[in-house]
Symmetry: C2
Subunit: 204 residues, 2 copies
């Protein structure tokens, strides 16, 4: 269970998505809520921070995003790999219709409350971006592409603070990077580039 | 130097970008060429494969993409970390105007030829996507967001084959995932999710 969420300054929110993790997309509307996995998400601007995410037409999450005008991106961890895959391959609508319960209940996910009231945040994740949908119907229809403005951002200070990820000693909290079919790469260690002068590689 | 490029079937091209690596964007037009780094790129569709990438208005690469209607995404490696940061923080136009040479020459980059004639491929990378610009002027102007259809995809078979990344024994070829300011995370090892039944986490 997460400690109280730590706020990330909005101008640094892009750093939560910059390394390209697979995310969970959640939304709520009219007493209903859902959550799905998405590998196709990225930052779109620095400040105000914006994001882009692809939401297939078949998903219930997309319906809730369109109805509420909001969504949340939660960044899940290695400890959640089985859950992420399950959330990416099951239909919330089916659970709701056949079992009368949503995916949060079915999979025992605790929904955290954020600051911007954009939707449920997934407990156990390490970063969260609460977003307002920037309506672009042509993108949504033609490309399943949804854009959002980040209203609030949070992170788990054990692995993200002062604008940097630091996973050392927290291997179970490393982010997931989906390849295909439930096969993921786990993010590794940090490395800093050193300044390089033109010609140093022999092209001068 | 790369061995001859190995083709990746188009329906699997998304897997080259799915784990969210930082990419190099290159383009050529009228005898000029340029290359820049971009952390904001993602797959947009499976088949025909499409991609999305953010190109700032200040970049010369963007001008060349707009003029040629094509671009190439190359996926660089840990061995290229200093080069990637240099390409992300220098202006090709400045090199051209002040020194009469482009960034390929200035940094000693060998440009490989692809199959689709979409622009120069960066040698030493581990994956390449040759793209045709899908013109969406509203996205380009409002969000600096460029969409492309992948015409051809290639990978280094030492680390990508049969639809999977496999970096074991090739640490220098691991992909880069930029956080900010030349600080990167290096992709780690693979892990497969196991099937999870609803309720298994205690929510049943």
């Amino acid at each position: 269970m997460n400690e109280p969420l730590h706020s990330v300054p909005l101008e640094r929110a892009y750093r939560l998505l910059n390394p390209g993790p697979t995310v969970l997309v959640s939304a709520a509307h009219g007493g209903m809520r859902n959550v799905m996995a998405a590998a196709w998400a990225m930052p779109l601007d620095f400040e105000p921070p914006k994001v882009a995410v692809v939401l297939d037409k078949a998903t219930w999450t997309r319906e809730l995003v369109e109805a509420s005008g909001h969504f949340v991106l939660s960044v899940p961890t290695r400890a959640q790999i089985d859950l992420v895959q399950a959330l990416g391959t099951t239909s919330g609508k089916t659970f709701q219709e056949q079992e009368g319960r949503d995916k949060f209940t079915a999979f025992g996910i605790e929904a955290l409350e954020g600051r911007a009231n954009a939707g449920p945040l997934v407990d156990g994740c390490v970063a969260w971006l609460e977003c307002r949908l920037l309506r672009e119907p042509a993108n949504e229809q033609r490309y399943d592409l949804f854009l959002g403005e980040v209203l609030a951002a949070h992170a788990d200070p054990r692995v993200f603070s002062e604008g940097r990820w630091h996973f050392d000693g927290h291997d179970e909290l490393r982010t997931l990077h989906h390849v295909a079919g439930g096969h993921f790469l786990i993010i590794g260690d940090a490395q800093d580039a050193r300044p390089l002068a033109p010609g140093e590689l022999g092209g001068g």
